[in-house]
C-alpha cells in the first residue's frame, strides 16, 4: 500500500545516522489561486519572488522578536538535533531542528548580516535560489511546529516560529500550501474547516440528542445558535461526525447537562481549529479568532469553553485574548477561554459528577500529551496543570491507567506526526515516519502493562492516529477521546424522571 518502508519499532527511539536528501521529495500540493486569494496572497509565484521574499523576511524580523533573536543566537551546539520526531523517523538531516532553521538562516545571513554579505562561504550564507525555495517548501512542511526542539535548546530557539515565518514568506510570494489555505478559506466562507453549513450541523446535533436519549433514556441537549445561553462551546469541527471525536462531543454535552448550565454551539464560529497559526499569518489567525468574539457577542453568552483540540487550545489559551480581546463583556469569574477539561475537572473536584468507572473496564489506558497543550499552553491555575488535569479526569473515569515512559510524555511528549498543517494525504510518508517515536512509546506500555487504548485531547492527534496506528500493527480504534471516557462512565442524575424538563432547570442554573 505504501511505496516506502514503514520504520521498524524499537524499544525506545534510536538516533539514526544522517541520510542526506532522503525526504527532499516530500512536498504538499501547492495552493491554487482560488485558495490563495481569499487569504490575501498572490495566486501564484510572483515574478520577482526572490526580491519579495527577502523583503518579507526583513519585515517579519522587524515584527517578531522571536524571529530576529532566533536567527542570530544559534551556536550550532547540536542539542536539538536528535529531538525532532521527523528526524528520528526519516534520518534526513534537514529534519534536524537546527538544520531546518538554517534553511532560512543562511538566507538571512546572506542579505541581512555583515558576515553573510562579505564572507558568505565562511558562515554558510547562500543566495535565495530556486533550489533553496524548493527546500523551504519541502522541509518547512515537514515541521509540525510541535516545539519539542525549543525545550532542549539553551536559548529556547523555537523552530516552530521559524517555520511559521517561512510559510508566511512563501504565502506572500504566491507559494502556499493547498491543505491549510483551502481550509482557512472554508472557515471564512462557511465557518468551519470541514465546510459544514448550519443545516448540516443542526441535523447532526439533533441526531446526537436522539442517540444519547436511546442510550441513556435522558434528554441531553446539543444546542446550536441558542441566544442567551451561558456558555459558548467552540470545538473542532471533526467533533461533529468523525470517530472517536464525536464521542468526545457527546461527553461534553453530558458534562454540561450534569452541571446544569445552559450552553450552545455557534454555526458562525463552528470551528476551534485555527490554521492561521500554522501558516504564520497574524492577520488570518486573527480573522478566524474574531469570529469567536462575534459569535459570543451575538449569542450573548457569559463564558467561552473550548473542546478537545491541541493547536486550537494554544490559539485559545495563549493568543485569543491578544487577537480578539479584551473579553470584558464576559463573566469575570471565569478565565477566558476555558478548556473543557478545566470545566470537567472543576466539577469533579467539587464532587458534582458521579462516575461508574467499570464502564471503561474493557480498556487499559494511556495518555498522549498533545504538543500544543503540553508545550505551548496550560490549564488550571498552576504550572503543569495541562498534564495533571487530563490525567485526573482519566483516573476519575477509568480503573486502569498507565503513563508512557518519561521520555515521551509531558513537556518531552512526541508529536503524533500530523500536527502543524501536515494532516493531509499528500504528506502521508512524513506523517507515518514522524509517528515513530510515539508508536515506540506506545508499544512499550502495550507490552509491559497491557495497555489497549490511548486517550488524547486533540482532533489532529485523533485523526492522525486513526490513520497511522494500523501501519504499526495497532488498530485504528485504539485512539479515544478523553471526554469519550467521561461519556462512558458518567452517571446522569438530572432530568431522568421527566424527559424534556431539563431545559428549564438549565436556564435557572
Amino acid at each position: 500500500m505504501a511505496d516506502f518502508d514503514i520504520p521498524e519499532l524499537k524499544e525506545y527511539p534510536i538516533i539514526p545516522h544522517i541520510q542526506p536528501g532522503v525526504m527532499a521529495h516530500s512536498k504538499p500540493f501547492v495552493a491554487k489561486p482560488e485558495f490563495q486569494e481569499p487569504l490575501g496572497y498572490p495566486g501564484e509565484l510572483v515574478d520577482n519572488w526572490q526580491e519579495k521574499a527577502i523583503e518579507k523576511l526583513g519585515e517579519l524580523k522587524g515584527k517578531y522578536r522571536s524571529l530576529q533573536v532566533f536567527l542570530d543566537a544559534c551556536v550550532k551546539c547540536g542539542a536539538c538535533t536528535d529531538k525532532c520526531h521527523y528526524y528520528l523517523g526519516t534520518a534526513d538531516p534537514k529534519n534536524m531542528p537546527v538544520a531546518r532553521q538554517d534553511l532560512l538562516r543562511k538566507v538571512y545571513r546572506r542579505y541581512y548580516t555583515f558576515a553573510g554579505k562579505y564572507f558568505p562561504k565562511l558562515v554558510g550564507a547562500v543566495d535565495l535560489t530556486r533550489e533553496v525555495l524548493d527546500d523551504w517548501y519541502a522541509y518547512y512542511h515537514q515541521c509540525s511546529q510541535c516545539r519539542r526542539c525549543s525545550v532542549y535548546c539553551p536559548y529556547g530557539i523555537d523552530t516552530a516560529e521559524i517555520s511559521m515565518a517561512a510559510r508566511e514568506i512563501m504565502d506572500s510570494i504566491g507559494l502556499g500550501q493547498k491543505y491549510c489555505n483551502e481550509i482557512i478559506g472554508k472557515v471564512f466562507k462557511i465557518g468551519n474547516n470541514l465546510g459544514l453549513p448550519e443545516p448540516a450541523l443542526a441535523d447532526t446535533l439533533e441526531g446526537l440528542e436522539e442517540e444519547v436519549y436511546e442510550d441513556t433514556g435522558v434528554k441531553v441537549r446539543y444546542p446550536l445558535d441558542e441566544e442567551g445561553a451561558e456558555i459558548l462551546l467552540v470545538t473542532p469541527s471533526a467533533d461533529f461526525f468523525a470517530e472517536p471525536h464525536v464521542d468526545g462531543l457527546i461527553g461534553y454535552g453530558k458534562v454540561f447537562h450534569e452541571a446544569g448550565v445552559s450552553w450552545t454551539l455557534s454555526s458562525y464560529a463552528s470551528e476551534a481549529a485555527n490554521f492561521g497559526m500554522f501558516i504564520g499569518s497574524y492577520e488570518n489567525m486573527r480573522r478566524v479568532a474574531l469570529r469567536i468574539r462575534e459569535a459570543a457577542i451575538k449569542l450573548g453568552v457569559k463564558r467561552i469553553v473550548f473542546g478537545e483540540c491541541g493547536h486550537a487550545w494554544r490559539v485559545a489559551y495563549s493568543f485569543l485574548n491578544t487577537l480578539a480581546g479584551p473579553f470584558d463583556f464576559l463573566d469575570p469569574n471565569y478565565p477566558v477561554p476555558q478548556h473543557i477539561c478545566e470545566f470537567t475537572y472543576d466539577l469533579i473536584k467539587q464532587g458534582r459528577l458521579k462516575f461508574d468507572k467499570s464502564e471503561n473496564d474493557h480498556m487499559v489506558l494511556t495518555f498522549h500529551d498533545s504538543c500544543n497543550v503540553a508545550r505551548a499552553s496550560r490549564m488550571g491555575d498552576f504550572p503543569g496543570g495541562q498534564f495533571v488535569i487530563p490525567r485526573e479526569i482519566i483516573k476519575a473515569t477509568c480503573n486502569h491507567f498507565y503513563d508512557m515512559d518519561d521520555w515521551g510524555i509531558k513537556e518531552a511528549t512526541f508529536c503524533c506526526g500530523g500536527g502543524g498543517g501536515l494532516l493531509t494525504d499528500d504528506l502521508m510518508e512524513v506523517r507515518i515516519k514522524g509517528a515513530l517515536p510515539r508508536m515506540e512509546a506506545l508499544k512499550d506500555v502495550v507490552e509491559n502493562y497491557g495497555v489497549t487504548h490511548m486517550a488524547a485531547i486533540c482532533a489532529i492527534c485523533k485523526s492522525q492516529f486513526t490513520k497511522v496506528l494500523p501501519y504499526y500493527g495497532f488498530t485504528m480504534d485504539q485512539i479515544v477521546s478523553v471526554h469519550q471516557l467521561v461519556s462512558n462512565a458518567i452517571i446522569l442524575t438530572r432530568g431522568t424522571e421527566e424527559p424534556g424538563g431539563e431545559a428549564e432547570t438549565a436556564d435557572a442554573a
Binding site: 538535533t81 523555537d158 480581546g325
Partner: protein, 251 residues
C-alpha cells in the same frame, strides 16, 4: 613610542569600539523589536519572579542544555565557567589598586585555563565525531573554536611556560585607559594572544556570540505565562486594530 605600540593601541581602541557599538546596536534592535504573541515554552513560570529564576538557571547552569545533551552540557558549561573565571582574573591588568576578590581568585583563574581548553577541545571533538553536529557546522563554527583555543593556549603558555612582562603589559593597558600611552612589551606570545583577543572582540557582534545577549531576549524563556490574565498586544497589532476601527467607522 614604537610602531608596535601604536598598532596595538589603535587595535584595542577599534576593537573596544566595535564590541561596544556593535553589541549596543544589536541589544537595541532586540529591545525595540516587539514580540506580538505569548510563546513561553513549558515549563513556563506564571510570575515575573519565576521568569527571573528561570533565566538565572539558564545562564548559570544551562538548565535547558542539561536536559538536551549531557556531553555538550559538560563541555560547554566547563568552558563557560572557566572562561568567566579567566576573564575575571584578567581584571587585574586593568585596575590599580587591584580589588581583593580579584586577587583572591588568581590561583583558581590560573588553572581554569586548563578547564577552558578541555571544554573547548571536547566541543570541537563533537563537531568531528558526531555526524549530526558535523553536518550543521559551518567553517565559522570551527574557526570560532580555533580562535578561543588559540587565545587559551597562548595565554596559558605565558602563565605556565614562558612568562611575559606583566608589569609593562599592565602599564600599557592602564595607559590606554588613561589616554597616556605606554610601550607594549614585544613578547611574541603576548602579541599573538592580544591579536587573537582583539579579533574575538571585533567578531563578537557579528557572529553567533550574539547568543550571550540573545538568551535574555528569547521570548520562549523570558515571557510570563499569563495570557488569559493580561492582554498582550504589540504596537503594530494595535495599529492594525485601530486601522480596522477607522475603516469600520468610515464604511
Amino acid at each position: 613610542m614604537t610602531f608596535l605600540t601604536v598598532v596595538y593601541a589603535l587595535l584595542f581602541y577599534v576593537a573596544t569600539g566595535v564590541l561596544l557599538f556593535g553589541l549596543g546596536y544589536k541589544i537595541r534592535q532586540y529591545w525595540k523589536t516587539p514580540q506580538p504573541l505569548k510563546i513561553p515554552t513549558t515549563p513556563a513560570p506564571v510570575t515575573r519572579s519565576g521568569v527571573v529564576i528561570r533565566m538565572l538557571k539558564e545562564v548559570t547552569v544551562f538548565a535547558s542544555l542539561f536536559k538536551g545533551n549531557k556531553w555538550t552540557w559538560l563541555f560547554g558549561w566547563t568552558f563557560h565557567a572557566a572562561l568567566l573565571l579567566v576573564l575575571l582574573r584578567h581584571l587585574r591588568y586593568f585596575q590599580e589598586p587591584v580589588w581583593g576578590w580579584v586577587r583572591f581568585i588568581q590561583p583558581f583563574g590560573k588553572y581554569a585555563a586548563f578547564a577552558m581548553l578541555a571544554g573547548l577541545a571536547g566541543l570541537w571533538a563533537r563537531r568531528f565525531l558526531v555526524d549530526r553536529v558535523r553536518y550543521i557546522s559551518a567553517p565559522s563554527d570551527h574557526l570560532m573554536l580555533a580562535l578561543l583555543l588559540g587565545i587559551g593556549i597562548s595565554g596559558a603558555s605565558m602563565t605556565f611556560v614562558a612568562h611575559a612582562d606583566i608589569v609593562s603589559l599592565k602599564a600599557f593597558f592602564l595607559g590606554l585607559i588613561r589616554f597616556d600611552w605606554q610601550p607594549i612589551p614585544s613578547d611574541p606570545l603576548l602579541l599573538i594572544h592580544l591579536l587573537l583577543v582583539a579579533t574575538l572582540m571585533i567578531v563578537f557582534p557579528y557572529s553567533k556570540l550574539l547568543h550571550a545577549p540573545g538568551v535574555f531576549f528569547s521570548p520562549t524563556r523570558n515571557q510570563v505565562d499569563n495570557p488569559r490574565e493580561q492582554r498582550h498586544v504589540a504596537p503594530w497589532a494595535e495599529e492594525l486594530e485601530r486601522k480596522e476601527r477607522r475603516q469600520a467607522a468610515a464604511g
